[in-house]
Amino acid sequence: MDSQTKFIYNQINLPFNPKPPTLMHIDLNSCFATIEQQANPLLRGRPIAVVAYDSPRGCILAPSIEAKKMGVKTGMQVREGKLLCPSLQTLEPDPWKYRNIHIQLRDLISQYTTCFSPKSIDEFILDLEGFPSFKLGMHQIGLEIKQKIKAQIGEWLTVSIGIGPNRFLAKLAANLKKPDGLEEINQKNYQQIYQKLSLIDLNGIKTASAIRLNNAGIYSINDFYNSTIDQLQSAFESILGYYWYLRLRGWEIDDVDFGRKSFGNMYSLPKIISTPEGISPILHKLVEKCSFRMRRAGYSARGVHVALLYKDHSFWHHGSVNHEPLFSASDIYKYAYRIMVSSPYRKPVANISVSLFDLTKSNFSQLDLFNEISKKIKLTSAIDKINEKWGNFVITPAMMIGTQNNVVDRVAFGNIKELEQFICTE
């Protein structure tokens, strides 16, 4: 930071944002598990968990509220969960159930404001500033949304709602009481709330960041709040210090829409495979899936990245950029296979992922001059149309034979860009 910028930063002494809170964060509690309990009333009030794979080493994606009370947490293995809670019932994910509920929530929210954005499959942020519904009062709107969710979507579903002057504090408020909370952070109560929380309760501050702050003499949120921009810049050694200065004071800094940067698919192998020949059908299916999604969104990619996580927990990855954009699955597969075999290791693989990056919006008509490319585009487009009409993978490369039960449909926790595309095409 140059001395002039440093001087300007030191002159800034912002108070807590005095504007009335207009941001609302809505978080569907224990999303996947609660939706399963909504679907099957016999599971209500029982400890259940939605798991990636229903096997002892399968990962718990979402424990129900009852399972959480028994100590079961997201990220645990099924066997660990069952040790804590022997009556734990496990279910594999049913993505379309969750997507349908997400769309219904979205429809409900749009009755109050058009200025909202889904942050994940189970989280929405609403800005009610300037909308007629704001006259009802933020608290009243929160209560109404809760009631309507129960009446119109599902009586077992509960949401935690947070109200704040910016996105960050609205989310923090939503985390204050789970499940079924309705909390607000404003100019009057922020100090009281900050006093009750620790640094790692803040969304975005994990142990490593907390250590950085501790090293700068910041041990509590109140210390964090009272630090100057200069102190925070030094602690984070980046512009992040300035962002945190604004966030904690209720000023907006997170109203950023990150565009699509890549398309990727990942798969945990159910059995040990060490050879490239053994892994290649799975690699092919991963490429088919992510390239289909990419083409449907109207992109081609120059970059291909392959990552391998081995059974011994070591990791290898490599990405490479082609001089021409790639769009057909067969070309991308050849490229990805070359990357995969360049790994110096021949160890048992536990997990494989492929991502396509360096995206460009495709304008295939410009390429029509080149006959070969034109043929390839037509063929790829015809295959995509058949798969769209009759379901994915009706036409598949012979290489993918035997992978019917691999790389099944999954719903991402954070990224819901795909869902946005689905909503647009419905």
């Binding site: 016999l42 009759w390 379901g391 009706v394």
Partner: protein
């Protein structure tokens, strides 16, 4: 006990114009007729262009997942459960 199945079943289906509600009323499976007492969730998805409606329903102590294929108007039973761990 949670059982994944995939069998055709007979379903009596009701359309209620007040509030435009649709729901399965009875299902015949394994030689027995079950009266649906509650619809937990109704959701839909597409396989290719074919729209499927899924009704997650309960008849007393038995849960059924019923799938209506809107292309050939056939019903299939996909899951049965008593809500207890296996």
């Amino acid at each position: 006990m949670h059982l994944k199945v995939d069998v055709p079943v007979s379903v009596i289906f009701v359309y209620e114009p007040n509030g435009a509600k649709v729901f399965p009323l009875k299902v015949r499976w394994d030689g027995r007729v079950y009266t649906i007492t509650k619809v937990g969730l109704h959701h839909h998805f597409r396989v290719g262009r074919v729209l499927h409606h899924v009704f997650s329903v309960v008849s007393d102590e038995t849960f059924f997942r019923l799938n209506l294929n809107t292309d050939n108007l056939s019903w299939r039973l996909e899951e049965v459960s008593d809500g207890l761990p296996d």
